[in-house]
Symmetry: D3
Subunit: 324 residues, 6 copies
């Protein structure tokens, strides 16, 4: 158990609500975006993926706060989100102009890489409905107050979309704090950006930072660590820090075989949050996060296809023998 | 033969150059955009499709003047255009900002329909590189003068993208006329828009108009006619008018079986232009256009997979017996 | 408006709840079950399909009462049902024995047919969890009383599974009547069975009967009529009867092009129920039912991929022109 | 019953043996050979298809006499033939030279056509092992004598491969006659060839001729008749003649919906031969042939996926209603 | 050579007959059962796989004794078995009741796993026709006596289906012994079951046991050994014991790359049996078994796609260079 | 910089022209040729692949000199070559006889292998149009003189097709030398053939030899080195020699993960030639070759899907981290 104070589940409609953009991911399978003639599609988004996994993998009640342009593409994203089990009633549907000049849906063309060829993604999300969200769009008091939410998750991908999306993050986290809702924020630090330390919102749980020891104001700070041996093989680990535990380390997974690495950081976050929401010690939550991140890399797409039982078993050291 | 005056082929690098947008078409096959999990992709665009068919079906030398954002999606469009055989050296590559805020590539999610369910398309082409083309981007004098072009094709889809694209159309057609290059313009008239009569550029050959008799300044005016019995069955015909021939009519094709109707108007245009470029009488060119439009509806995608021999045979009345 | 008395939407958690089996449909596409090497899968079930369409096509709040064996196949059915948007919280999960001796999930191998080759299906649903449901499994008083349901839909496919499933139907319909919930029952009459007149439960709306005039105790009686010209072409119509309107007839659709006819009767039911739930006159509801049934035959799978707007437009006489 | 004299089934190892070439068919599905990027493969060959259908559709014991080059492609053809249930022990395996200079396996790239676009095939079978078969390769006396065969089927496609294949046909039919084995020969007459009347072998049953009344030496003469309305719709019928019955006509099937017409003539032959082998009157056998030919056009590939029950039901006038 | 006494091939119709269940395997490819929308299908069954490989890989004459319900699914299993080349004339076809209450066909939903995610299978084979086989169903005296069989293979998967299937195993092995047919029995020991030592039938060759030294009554005892480094990488070996040779060990294959491990134990058995049937020393047979088991893990599905030449080459130490 | 003397780019229409055969490659994906039911197709050919990569990966102007039979298969090869961007105007189209007796198109059935199962290919290219090319077919003086070509690439695969193809190689290289065009020749040495030292044409750059130090007459000699750990994992390196540099070695890549190894030697050649054409030192060119060869093994098909930027980055030591 950490010192996080969680609202009572019975008094809350949702265990977790994510605030972020949901994009349509277009995936060329074992080929490349630039030469393919077919795409598989699924939905994905850093903050959303956490809500999806908490619902589908861990069985919690979650919702997504986002905006979508109301056209066939947006409805396809909704179709995918329904599969994900995430409550879509908080989605803001913005009328489409027939062309995509005023508002669009975000797209994400990403190939998985193989061996010496790294994974590669192109975002096509300018002018997305999510990036145009602004303070006042969402009635947070109704959501956190009347309905009740135990945990709010958001992060740096959404906050970085635009000035107004950053303002929505600030508005949402402030409202969450007023109602005792725990706030987690995934910086999604990437060395190429070095955006880890600028203007973070107050977050009880801070994820995806460069150095977990540099954020003493948070109750829990955690992140994955990865060495890319090749696109098909990563050394994968995770660390967490809290005032009471100090620095903790998850079991290392050297030479982890990778099918599609995208979304593993989000799965780390959801595994960890599941552990914390369930009242487990931080070390256990950290192992759940690391195991869930590892499992997500064994299936295509951004989102996790694992089960809670598989996460727990892997965290507890089970092997990959056939079950039948 | 019509009274079109054509530049000599030997003095021209290109038989035809199209000016227009090229989009990535995403096609869910026999399913629907809003519920699919896979898309086939190909390239398409009203003006471009004409250049593609003249190259691949009819064996002429063609090029496309357009602009694309330089990212993986743009390179995929290029990959498709290469398959189409169209010279891509006149494509203007615009640097991508990593997000799609400043410039993007146009996308077109289109399903083909079946029976009582009509075909349905969503354009996602706001802020596309093509829509941001502006006068001065292309050295028309070099193209029409130094290199030499027999025919310029453009139309209302591209002209309607933005004020600047309309200005590029005006600039291009004026330049073409200076060098004796024949100009065709496909209005792409649709009853829902009724945009057929506003501010057409001077065009020798005017296509896709509502009423072919209303444009006496053009040398040839032509259009298809279609009654949608169902998405899978159309009555399909075509008419043309010229000062010397008056009104002409192609063979009617009642109850034509349709797999994917998108692109049939463009194939009508390319068949007709092929006939005119080859010096055939307007009636023959018209039959080529109608036959090519009909054949295009028997294959998936916007673009034609027919051969010139098939077009000619169908125009001359051949049936659909097996050839082996 | 008919004389159906509907509970107020605000006092009900669900607009409609279906009681029935949900099977995994395995579809060989354009091939045949007996020679295929691949199947597409989706979920389906006569009663369930109605709840699914009312949620996904018409935007109402629906749930399914059923039972599933808790194994990977059952979880795949759940994955599909989530895509369908139907509330799955009333699903009864039965422990699996690892073999399928005690309890299983129903499977449905169905091919669509083409031309002179009729559609063909094989049910493999012996010992299914749904067929083993029995009175007392569901707390109907809680559902209809505490939660509130405006409409209960069930039918002869589920009632015919076993003596106990028939008893559950009787229990559910009796409970529904106690709470003022409208009851519809789809006999799913097929000439080969002639099971239309035996032991029907009391139903306000009776569907899929042989002769709509023979059930004067119901408020509305309706059914589709179909002449199978070929597997690819049906003459399709529908009739309804109510005491106040007498016999009504929907617009005939002769020669309707059919891709996959399975589920069209269920879509007729959901279109009609939508009309009645919305308070439209029976003639309008009947047209919605017929139009929705027709649209469902244009896509693969049991379930509808149409939109409410498309249903309304087709019911009002729109053609199948391309929309873009 | 016709006046065909059939050997007793108990004294024969095979009900029918076909002599002909088996090719690998490469099928681009709904696309075209010249632009596809994927092929489905199956095996096919005019004479072989008859043996396959008699085994898989009608349950008889059949074998194929042919030759294949012993490489991965030949083994793939074998894999397909095993699926077809035809006994492959009479296949002559010829060593491969690693290049295909001396001997190869026949290939057949065929697309199915749609609407106004006809089916189209390219044979690539020069130097095939089958075309190089020569008299003496097969021990016919052992086959017809020691093992016993009730019926030998061969035809003009194989006989036309080369002078030596024609000699093998002559050798085989002569041997068959010595042992009382009925001989059928499918001319595979096509108007473009007009090869129907030249040097036919003595055949008890003559198929695929231009005019069934011109071959009085045969016991049965039969052929299909077809009018190609479009590639997707044919008027389809069949006629037969025998000395005792005179001219007979099968039920006409106007406007038959066609998915893939290739192989329908062979299926006509197998349905007819099944009827004759079973001792049915010629009119019944003719109806089986016509019904089987019609059913084969409803599935992809050269070979039939029908069942004997479906053939009989269609021949007796059943419709295409769903069976479930 | 071992001291196995084999019947003469010329006096036997079959080299090997397997007794066991054949299921339809449904494989989601690189995805998971619980989230897939497509399955590839093939046939499989522990005992059957041995007969299939001996026929298709090693060229022997084999048959399967099993039972199937006579519906479209059973016919699909037959279609797959024909591809496998195994003689299906001994299959007992049981009438289907249209629902699957009395009798069904066994299904096997299995995913292959990847990296830290293990392979996972769900059997759905309750009430299968095979599990309902009972003594007296098969005329063993005719099979082993009149027709002649050199080797009978069966095992613990089939014996464990039901009391009556165990009785059929006892009946069959006793009959085999009467006629001098060698009997092999694959325990299919799995640590989770620990069923290795209970009530084994008398078997000349005993496979898949926990400890090869504990079965001194058998002529040969053998098993694979495996350490699951990950689902994609196994250390793979095999051991055998016979009275004359004592304990033997096959070449170890550490870090073997695995695509789909299911069926490797059966392929070990078939490779070993091939060696023994061919009269090779046990060490050679053991190496064939180990090599064949390893090769089977490089292709999808339960069944082997290897060739005898590849098995021999790998057993003799060949590498994985390209052959062309 | 090496001492290669290159013609000026401005005076040449092509940077490189390849002389060789282009075959249709049929690829069963993760399955095997002998058991597949689907093939993906693409074009490939040792010499051609170099021209393709120089155009599509490195942006140079390239053409192919080859011959194709003019049928649907040849047109499919053309469709693929257009995607490859290679100028097809020098292709010689030979009339097809409808059967493939006189002339055909080369086919190449190749599977990629996995783990202990090696890659495996079957060429079916006897009587191909390319193998029948003969001196005099091509006007080399026009090509090298009037049009201008900086570099001619050909090799031992084409030279080995026939006596006449070898003569065409001699004719072409002699002509190239007359016009100052650099000549490279890829021996494509394979240990099983040991054809490396016989009758090589005079080549400035000699590739794919057994021992780079044995060819002092060439300006540059280079080859890859490979140890096949398994089909999925190779140790991969490369060496080059020139009089001025002596022996050079590229960075070793031990344990390189391989998806499809076919074409890696050709990609080595194109990367090296790009470096040399760009005037880089031999060590840099060698690293480009090795990096390009490595990248090609990460995608399906013979041809490279890499970008020049990726080649350079890998050559300079970049890892396989995700780029997004």
């Amino acid at each position: 158990m950490t010192s996080l104070r969680l609202r009572d589940a019975d008094s809350c409609r949702y265990d977790l609500v994510s605030l972020g953009e949901v994009m349509l991911r277009l995936d060329p399978g074992e080929g490349r975006v630039r030469t393919t003639r077919t795409f598989r599609v699924s939905e994905g988004g850093g903050e959303y993926n956490v809500a999806r996994a908490l619902r589908r993998v861990f069985g919690l009640r979650t919702a997504i706060v986002t905006a979508l342009a109301d056209n066939e593409v947006g409805r396809l994203v909704e179709d995918c989100m329904l599969t994900g089990g995430v409550d879509t009633s908080l989605v803001r549907w913005v009328p489409y102009d027939g062309v995509g000049r005023a508002v669009r849906n975000g797209l994400n063309f990403t190939e998985r890489g193989f061996g010496v060829r790294g994974a590669l993604g192109v975002s096509d999300r300018g002018h997305s409905a999510a990036s145009q969200m602004k303070p006042g769009d969402v009635d947070w008091d109704h959501l956190f107050g009347a309905e009740g939410v135990r945990w709010l998750h958001t992060g740096g991908i959404f906050a970085g979309l635009s000035a107004s999306s950053a303002a929505v993050v600030a508005e949402a986290t402030a409202a969450a704090r007023r109602y005792g809702t725990v706030v987690s924020y995934d910086v999604n630090y990437r060395p190429s950006l070095d955006n880890s330390d600028i203007s973070l919102p107050m977050a009880d749980v801070l994820l995806g930072v460069r150095d977990v020891r540099k954020h003493p104001d948070s109750v829990v700070v955690a992140t994955t660590s990865r060495r890319v041996v090749s696109a098909s093989r990563n050394d994968f680990g995770a660390v967490a820090w809290s005032p009471s535990t100090g620095m903790l380390k998850a079991a290392d997974r050297p030479g982890l075989e990778v099918l599609d690495r995208v979304g593993s950081g989000d799965s780390f976050a959801s595994g960890l949050i599941f552990g914390l929401l369930s009242g487990y010690p931080l070390q256990v939550a950290l192992e759940y996060g690391a195991a869930h991140g590892a499992l997500t890399m064994t299936t295509p797409g951004d989102t996790s296809m694992a089960t809670a039982a598989e996460v727990v078993a892997l965290a507890e050291g089970a092997g990959a023998s056939v079950r039948r």
